[in-house]
């Protein structure tokens, strides 16, 4: 047989195999290990869904808080609240927890939780957010001191979570944005005393703040120097003077309580300072850079469910072959896929980049909101019923455009380091 016949046969065979592979459907989204993780999270979230629904609108705030506590207990028992903390503090993640290999699982975790309930993702995610400043201070002794007892309690099934407190009544965007924040009116201060510090002031909208065992609180040593004097403290919430002033009555994500906290002359020992004095902003910046893409992932997880609901509705109503409908849904799917690729990219970059993280956050959350809004339009009034998932997800997704810095502030963050760095090779 001539060389030509041989290569033609090989070509045919390859073409056939290629076509068969294409017909075989989609490429796996994740590796087998990650796929298993996704399925485990899905299982947990599905079982949690009835409680999430019960904590929604008709429940009183107190009922909602009790449900949140119960969900945290379940999550702790199942290992979800220690899974992404490093081994040396008692968690189950390797050294790579903050690296690329450690962050993709975290993305899958929040996405799959949010596919059922963004509120559930915030409830569990805020715990990691609260622990993040302690990890990112890279003070290993402090990490062990503060986080080890928590992990032990979590493993015993107690809801011993962390919370993260930067926002104040008079400073919301100002603690997310160092440019605007130059003139921030910071009301939470720390005063040096023998053996430690005394904290005074108010923090608001703190996710899980009413349930936390430890909250990372950012306070100014010299209020007139505002963020430049910012310092982070891990405050055990049973310290005298710590007060939960209120739990917010929110539009959505009602399974995740947001609390106002008052620190009335609260003593914090030196050993519970997180990182050096006046390094608060840098630690906060690093924390937000790490967490913002996850907020994008959260929004997209919910949007994915909405897309499924929309398509299921279309199939039920004989619209799947309607080319106009196909066209409109394709538009949404395309923007979903692009946003998700951006989020994955932002999660992969080590260390996280401010501009990429911010872009992932605002692009993904805006995309998700557009998706849920348009699917609701298609589905009509039935999707506005409280019994419809789409209705709940509409209210839940909306929050992702507001917290972790409003999307406007995230857009401004793209220029936070002056010229956006290495545009071409990073994006």
């Amino acid at each position: 047989m001539g060389a030509e016949g041989w290569s033609a046969r090989l070509g045919e065979r390859l073409f056939e195999r290629f076509e068969r592979a294409r017909e075989g459907g989609r490429a796996p989204r994740y590796s087998a290990a990650l796929q298993r993780l996704a399925e485990q999270v899905q299982g947990f979230a599905r079982e949690a869904e009835p409680l999430v629904v019960a904590a929604d609108e008709e429940a009183s705030l107190a009922q909602g808080v009790e449900i949140a506590r119960e969900l945290l207990r379940r999550a702790a028992r199942a290992g979800w609240l220690t899974r992404f903390l490093p081994g040396w503090v008692g968690g189950q993640a390797g050294v790579a927890a903050l690296q690329q290999r450690g962050r993709l699982p975290m993305l899958i975790f929040v996405e799959e939780l949010a596919a059922v309930s963004p509120g559930l993702a915030t409830l569990l995610g805020a715990h990691y957010l609260g622990a993040m400043p302690i990890l990112l201070s890279f003070d290993f002794a402090a990490q062990r001191r503060i986080l080890r007892p928590l992990c032990a309690a979590l493993q015993a099934g107690e809801p011993a979570i962390c919370a993260f407190a930067i926002t104040e009544p008079e400073a919301g965007s100002d603690v997310e944005d160092p440019v605007g924040g130059k003139r921030a009116r910071l009301g939470t201060t720390a005063r040096r005393v023998a053996g430690g510090y005394v904290l005074k002031g108010r923090k608001c909208f703190i996710s899980g703040g009413n349930l936390a065992r430890v909250t990372t609180v950012f306070a100014a040593l010299e209020p007139e120097k505002s963020l430049r004097s910012w310092t982070c403290f891990a405050v055990p919430m049973d310290t005298p003077g710590v007060e939960v002033v209120r739990v917010e009555d929110k539009m959505g994500q009602r399974v995740s309580p947001a609390a106002e906290l008052y620190f009335d002359e609260v003593f914090v020992p030196e050993s519970y300072r997180v990182g050096p004095e006046r390094e608060g902003w840098r630690i906060n910046r690093a924390t937000l850079d790490l967490s913002r893409p996850f907020v994008g992932g959260m929004a997209l997880g919910a949007a994915r469910t909405v897309l499924h609901e929309g398509v299921a509705w279309a199939a039920k109503n004989g619209l799947m072959h309607d080319r106009f409908f196909q066209h409109e849904i394709a538009r949404l799917l395309g923007s979903y896929a692009a946003a998700r690729a951006l989020v994955v990219r932002a999660v992969e970059v080590v260390p996280p980049m401010t501009e990429l993280s911010a872009m992932a956050k605002f692009v993904a959350t805006d995309t998700a909101m557009r998706i849920v809004s348009q699917i609701m339009d298609w589905m009509g009034v039935e999707a506005t019923l409280r019994s419809s998932r789409v209705e709940r997800l509409y209210r839940d997704i909306r929050l992702t455009q507001i917290y972790e810095g409003t999307n406007e502030i995230n857009r401004l963050a793209v220029f936070e380091h002056g010229q956006p760095r290495s545009w071409a090779d990073s994006f």
Binding site: E57, S173, V179, E248, A383, R386
Partner: protein
Amino acid sequence: MAAIRQFPADISRAAQFSVLGTTKGPFGEEVRDLAGVVASRLLSRWNGTVDKNPPNLDLVRDFDEECTRAGLAQLFSEASDGGEGSESLAASAIRGFAEADGGIAAIFLARLAAVLPWVQGSVEVPVVDGWSTAWSGGSRPDVVWAWGWRDGLPITVCVPGEGSAWRLQLLPAQHLGSVEVHQRMGLRACPSAWVRVHLGEPMASIEVGRETIARWRSLVAGWWAVIALARGRAALSEAVRYASVRYQGGALLIEHPLVQEMLGRAFEAVVAAEALLTRGFSGDASSLAAGTSLATQASERAAHTAQQVFGGYGYMRDYPVERCLRDVKMAAVAAGGSARLRVATAHAVCAAEGVHLPDKGEGVSLGSAG
């Protein structure tokens, strides 16, 4: 089918005209004011229960009584009779209600739409409690989505008729089966329900052509858009007030060009939609369709922007804007949703050009039920 249309005895013809004297011109101010007065009276009486699930059914009954007393019940028949100025008069009343509360406006809209076919079809139908009917439209023939539902009111349903026509039936309350009152995202002062209906033996029945149905549909969609727009504008006003007192980034929010641009962009669409709708209600079909579509988009953007300007506070239920967003979205969906409304605009504009696109025959659905 010649039942007698009754007006409540205590309202004289003269009293009616004191209301209807303002019918000329779009968005008649007096009717709008009167609706506003009725709405605020209801709000002060039912304070705290207008945004609750399940809806407050006492409020609807009260609404019906208040409207009768104020002479607004007559407006139903006059406003929906298709006479000159009547459509904009209806829009004025809806707007007046909606400026106070979107849900209360939706009850009025439901009542208005319920008599629309009967009045325009010159079929006299009996009234209940000095009233007319609740209205429905829905995806299934035996279970209908009834807006403005309350116990004891008959329901208008739309079923396929002869050929390409539709048949509207007015079903007496005693022919209605199980009722499931909805818990909805927004406009909660206005109850809605799934109602099982038994067709046959209607109180009144009328055959209507597709074109007429399409015209009613666009009119009712326009009314929903008026609600959305009023709530969107209300949200923006709140945002402007808030931005004028909140400091962030070393300045009042309103001083940041970024915030000004957000508000400006939202306002320009709202103002444009208002102008277009006003033209639409004076009889220009393509302006009505385009105005409806634009209004729903503009008001969604307005409410969204307002909430964004409030930051985290905007997500809290003790601030007014989160509710505006839910109400606006509810009204926009009821109007038909963005894609369908754009198609409707194309139909209207093409018709004005002499190109008549075939109607897909969705029947009368007062608020798209999917």
